[in-house]
Symmetry: C3
Subunit: 142 residues, 3 copies
């Protein structure tokens, strides 16, 4: 069996005021392609405490429905203790991102992410400002 | 130190109309056993955008309580934008699965998953149809 | 390229009645430092079904806001089916932990976790008792 190799890369994605949801599947698949890894796993993690990663069927309806659900979890208009100290208007952003979580672990099979046909990897900006989000991608496999 | 090896396998589990929660701990432990890995990690990811993975104490009360909480997060009876376009009745399924997340990362120690005594790995089907769910399991370790 | 190595270690952290949120970034960075791994990934998983892991800006306001949001997801004062059988008062703990999830995958770059300046890894105890929580940390990298 060949030795397990490591490959890592950084994605930068421009996102609007949150919740903003963007499909990053192609970008991760390009990293997988460059790695030469056929089978293994990719982990991805957003740098920063107001971003998150998950998978969805990336079509406008689901995007809107997920945005609505995220806003129900932690509505912008609530009072947040973070605001008392910092007053930067992003109390809801921190809570939303913590509940969804910053990281994901995805299978690589036959040189690509193994996902459902209607399943895409998405990065979510929860911040109340547009942000260039950094996502660290780490691959291990053979 | 021995070289890190990779092992991967696919689980297929039949699940009922969602939310349906099934214990897959034994199935993953069998994959760990076949791999020959004593120490390392297992990542698992559901293929498809209406499934998720987490851990619970797998007893009927917690299963029901988690089902109830999942239905509160995204009730089936809400109006979903996904429905406007697709009308397949699973708007809530997509939102629930995205919030819980498709993947998990578990420790392998002494040739088995290291979990709590009352902690099981579960696959959740959120779809409004019974589904055979595919779960990709990737192990790395020594 | 050097071979991928594996390093694993166990953290024990004392947490109060839940939700209690503790910053474990320094503890994980110490494990990374001892491993000799410069680049790769760390996965961490809480042992037990009433704990979870995520990242936040660890300041008192966000900690309180996240606690409040966790309690809205599964309030202690609801009726839980788990209680009917076990009557140990922790129905809400199980639901909260399952929704947040037990595990996280973090990038290692230049011999440290690559996180945002205001992003810390936190362990959360959701139990209705103070608990010494065990967290298994598994590193792979070069």
């Amino acid at each position: 069996m060949p030795s397990v190799i490591l490959h890592f890369s950084t994605l930068e994605v421009d996102l609007r005021i949150g919740p903003d949801i963007r499909d990053i599947t192609d970008e991760i698949n390009r990293i997988v392609g460059r790695s030469g890894i056929d089978n293994g796993q990719a982990t991805a993690c957003v740098v920063g405490s107001t971003g998150s990663l998950t998978t969805i069927e990336f079509e406008p309806g689901v995007v809107q429905d997920l945005n609505d659900a995220i806003n129900r979890l932690a509505p912008q208009e609530r009072a947040y203790a973070h605001e008392m100290a910092w007053n930067d208007g992003d109390g809801h952003s921190h809570v939303q991102a913590a509940l969804l979580g910053p990281s994901i672990a995805l299978p690589i099979r036959d040189g690509r992410l193994r996902l459902g046909t209607w399943q895409q990897v998405v990065a979510i900006n929860h911040d109340n400002r547009a942000r260039r989000r950094t996502i660290e991608v780490t691959l291990t496999g053979v």
